[in-house]
């Protein structure tokens, strides 16, 4: 989203929180089976967090620059959080896991099936996204739009449509993330705070302008966070990733895999 439309979305955490409640409304209020509520929740996510977000917030705001949009997304995050609290309550709600919470033992080490399957889904999704971006004509057009929208437009690429695809892909990804993470975190209106913060730190550590940078940043952050909590102190677990963030900003501001961006002034 940053590359295609210069959008920094501070409501990204709330974007992961919201689809869980769309699904819970389906199962709880309308009594739908989970699979149907999940599909309908995905469609609602595409429309509200993909299409409507772009048309109603990003398009009118982006012409005023990146900073007003950043402030607007912060406002959107608060609005989404408070709306869920108002209409669905402040309590946490159970959310069904996609797989049974059993575990398997491999060479004496116990692995949770749920964790293994989450990892597998993530790998498949990332691989599919990479294939789409690099292996299809639409994907290459999206990359061209990300690299230079003006030249892309000269080449006949429908830049606005490519940007819209980016927002729809983002909406699909937050829907998948919600399905994977909510059974562990439980559905609660505050979930977006921690998710958004970690996502932002991961993106900066890995490199804000590279998809693989965000992936590597997420992995590094997750491993460092958990190892610190186990072997150093769980009380200071949040401090270590923030120290890592400061170190990366000081030593390699573009992130571990990020590309240096130059701007003509």
């Amino acid at each position: 989203m940053w590359q295609t439309s210069q959008t920094i979305n501070f409501a990204q955490g709330e974007f992961v929180m919201a689809p869980a409640f769309f699904i819970l409304i389906g199962t709880g209020t309308f009594g739908l089976p989970f699979w149907l509520a999940a599909i309908l929740g995905g469609l609602v996510t595409l429309v509200l967090l993909g299409l409507a977000f772009k048309r109603l917030m990003v398009d009118p705001m982006i012409r005023h620059g990146a900073l007003p949009l950043v402030v607007a997304t912060i406002g959107l995050a608060i609005l989404m959080k408070e709306a869920v609290r108002e209409f669905y309550g402040a309590d946490a709600w159970p959310f069904p896991a996609l797989w049974a919470t059993t575990d398997v033992t491999v060479f004496g080490a116990v692995f949770a099936v749920q964790s293994l399957l989450i990892l597998a889904v993530c790998i498949v999704v990332v691989a599919a996204l990479q294939f789409y971006l690099a292996g299809t004509l639409t994907g290459r057009c999206m990359q061209a739009t990300a690299q230079n929208p003006a030249v892309a437009r000269l080449l006949g690429i429908r830049v606005e449509r490519m940007v819209l695809y980016t927002f729809l892909i983002n909406a699909a990804l937050v829907w998948i993330a919600a399905l994977l993470v909510t059974p562990i975190y439980l559905a609660k209106f505050t979930n977006g705070e921690i998710l958004g913060l970690y996502a932002f730190i991961a993106a900066i550590i890995g490199g804000f302008n590279q998809v693989r940078g965000a992936i590597v940043g997420g992995l590094v952050l997750g491993v460092v966070d958990n190892f610190c909590a186990v072997y150093i102190s769980s009380s200071y677990r949040m401090a270590i990733p923030l120290l890592l963030l400061i170190a990366v900003i000081l030593v390699r501001p573009q992130g571990l895999l990020g590309r240096v961006e130059e701007r003509t002034v």
């Binding site: 309590d91 919470t101 116990v110 749920q114 562990i184 975190y185 439980l186 186990v230 009380s235």
Partner: protein
Amino acid sequence: MKRLKSLVTLSAMLLCGIASAQVKLAYVGEISGQLAPSGGNFRDGIILAVEEINAHGGMLKQKLDLTLYDTQTNPGVARAQMQKALDSEPYVLFGPVLSGNVKVTLEMVKQAEVPQFIGGEAADLTTLGNPYMFRTSFGQQIGMPKIGNYIRDELKAKTIALIWVNNDFGKAGRDQLLKVLKERNIRLAADVSTEPGQVDFAADVVKLKSANADAVFVYSNEEECARIMREARKQGLKGPFVGDTTLLSQKTIELAAEAANGVVGHVGLTVDAPIPEVKAFGERFQKRFKYKPDHNGLKGYTAVYAMKYVTEKKLGKLDRKAFMRTLHGLTISPQDEPGILIETGWNDVGEIDRISFLATVENGQQKIVKILPKLGK
């Protein structure tokens, strides 16, 4: 004739005044924020009791007028809301439920001299010098020895891995538990501190697993207890899991689902208690609010009826100071006041005494395995 007319008018005005007179009550509690499940249950218990009392003509023939103030589980907001509540001069205060919020508002309530039924369970709350403060449930110093005896006598555990929440409630509970374990020669194999509102417990459960203790003691708020149990089951940690009240609360069971099965603990109050009056309360509550209450629902409900009993049967008037003096050392039985549900007494510092329960979770349902007697018996 003119005098008669004036007299009739005056009488009518007085009657109207009497009919519209209301007793102001305030609930200052955790309606939103991290402790909303507990604060919401406590609030709904109060609302149910107030509605019932008003439906039967009120207290001293005056309607109860309850105002709700949300602390948002935030000590700063709690102080502001408490001040707002005290400015409205309530007859009795209910809440807060979060021990930390009880502490930060303690001096304000003490100076205002308003009787207060708290939901907080931290051990030190009744030692802080507010004579107007009354508990609605056991302090940790009463619950912990009971569960300590269970760990020693029934589980026969020699080592315990403890996971606790780092707030006033958790710290005070940890201190009480360590004292209890030491007295019973049970070794602490792991001492894992967690943060309020924490969502990822993977690393903490790894620590519990590596401690290889005979039992795991979980001491946190309801949502965190549920997340800990889910993560523990995910990582194959077998337990046994023991705790006090929050680990076995209805909200924890609902959120943890099958991960809650098998946990054992001490429960001060529960709607699953084998007492017909308590079960009937649970049904009325569920009918009114469409969910099953936990112990906090019972706490709020019985506190309102305790207020009614003291005011109507013991005082016959609205007098805060006399209320405070009367409730100290008083025991109320269901024969005296059916709304109290279980015989309950308060000592000279506002500590509560009533029977309690040892419970376990089976097939997603809390099951009482033993009734523990009152301390005074």
